[in-house]
Amino acid sequence: MAELHTTINGEAVAADVDPAMTLAEFLREKLYLTGTKIGCGRGECGACTIIMNGKSVVSCLIPVMRAEGAVLQTIEGVANGRKLHPIQEEFINKGAIQCGFCTPGMIMSSKALLDANPDPTREEIREALGGNVCRCTGYVNIEQAVNAAAERMRKGEK
């Protein structure tokens, strides 16, 4: 076991962890932050995407100790209580959610993109989402949701 100190959704977290764990396992099984999903466990579907130090990463391939001193955002930290983030609202408004299993990862990839790049091109959106597999939506409404959220965020909405 080892001591981990990290920041998750703005909160300092200290825990004893098995270094062989992945960050996804730590989030889901130790902290019960089950919003981050496991779709494959091999980094091939993006369902486990979180934001680590501002970058989207697949948490199922991140060794938990790499989170030492890192700043993490998970889906649970995106809304502000009942107030949803524009990305979340637009995912609902634009029909970008169906079964919901890819949704947390999809939203985190979208947020990582828009936080760094407020006015992305279609290619940049597709690059950001290329590693998030969705089998339900055909990606059409997801792309529209990201565009709509980007517009709102450019106007200053958070």
């Binding site: 992945t22 060794p63 100790m65 950001a128």
Partner: protein
């Protein structure tokens, strides 16, 4: 299992040597963690070099591009200097896996995983890169070809040594490089074929050309016969097509149930080699 976040390459080396073969270096981890999950490897110690201070960054030093071994593929693909001097390297690095993978994975790691058609490694291959390796014996350098010990086997023993940086000479005048990929899908897939080239083309003649192709053998394979044919001659459509045909002489692709039969790869390799050369030429007119 133990996990150490190394602050420098020398700290990483010290920990590695202390573990005497039972530890290994982990950078991006996108290959190492998958291998651990698949039960292929069982390290007792992982030494994380992603925050090693002397392995960070990408910079131009004298007439060389120096890429820290801990630089991520995303950092490389988006770096202003990489895009300016070697857009093909930016392209190759920007193709691996997915953005999430690239945000963790490193170019050094892509070479060390020794998959013959690793896109970052392939895009790097014809640029005459030099790998600086740190071990108990100190620092030494290795060429691209020397990095591959066999099929999917790196010559670098990551339980005893580590790559600290990759150095690439900047292109001179009349020099350009390219990278092309025959793919079933852009993201989350290895290519059916990839091919990279670099050429010095001056006064209507090829001074030198390096053509690498994969997966047609161990690691990026040089199309030696095609290179010999082109050297000294013009880069016409006819010559580039002929070079594509000659590339077959050095290629020995296997059949893959998903990514193309041997016959298909032999059929399309000349096309991809030709397209790689065309892309070089387009940058030089």
């Amino acid at each position: 299992m133990q996990y150490i976040n190394a602050a420098s390459s020398s700290e990483a080396l010290a920990a590695l040597l202390k573990a005497d073969g039972r530890g290994m270096v982990i950078a991006g981890g996108t290959d190492v963690i998958v291998d651990m999950k698949n039960g292929k490897i069982h390290p007792e110690l992982l030494i994380d070099v992603t925050r090693a201070a002397d392995m960070q960054g990408i910079r131009v030093e004298d007439d060389k591009l120096v890429i820290g071994a801990a630089a991520t593929l995303t950092q490389i693909a988006r770096h202003e200097a990489v895009r300016r001097f070697y857009p093909s390297l930016a392209k190759g690095c920007g193709t691996v896996g997915s953005l999430q993978i690239r945000n963790s994975a490193t170019l050094a790691g892509n070479v060390i995983s020794a998959q013959p058609a690793g896109d970052g490694a392939m895009a790097l291959a014809p640029l005459a890169p030099v790998f600086t390796v740190l071990s108990a014996a100190g620092e030494r350098t290795m060429t691209m070809g020397e990095m591959y010990a066999g099929f999917a086997r790196s010559a670098v023993d990551h339980s005893r040594e580590l790559v600290t940086r990759i150095t690439v000479p900047l292109p001179g005048a009349h020099e350009a490089a390219s990278f092309v990929r025959l793919e079933l899908r852009k993201s989350l897939s290895l290519p059916m074929l990839n091919c990279a080239a670099m050429v010095h083309y001056e006064d209507g003649a090829v001074r030198w050309v390096r053509i690498t192709m994969a997966p047609v053998g161990v690691g990026p394979v040089r199309a030696a016969a095609a290179e010999a044919y082109l050297t000294g001659g013009p880069l016409t459509e006819e010559a580039m097509s002929r070079a594509g045909e000659l590339a077959l002489e050095n290629a020995n692709p296997r059949s893959n149930p998903l990514r193309g039969s041997r016959e298909y790869r032999l059929e399309t390799l000349p096309v991809m080699v030709r397209r790689a050369l065309e892309e070089c030429r387009a940058q030089l007119v």
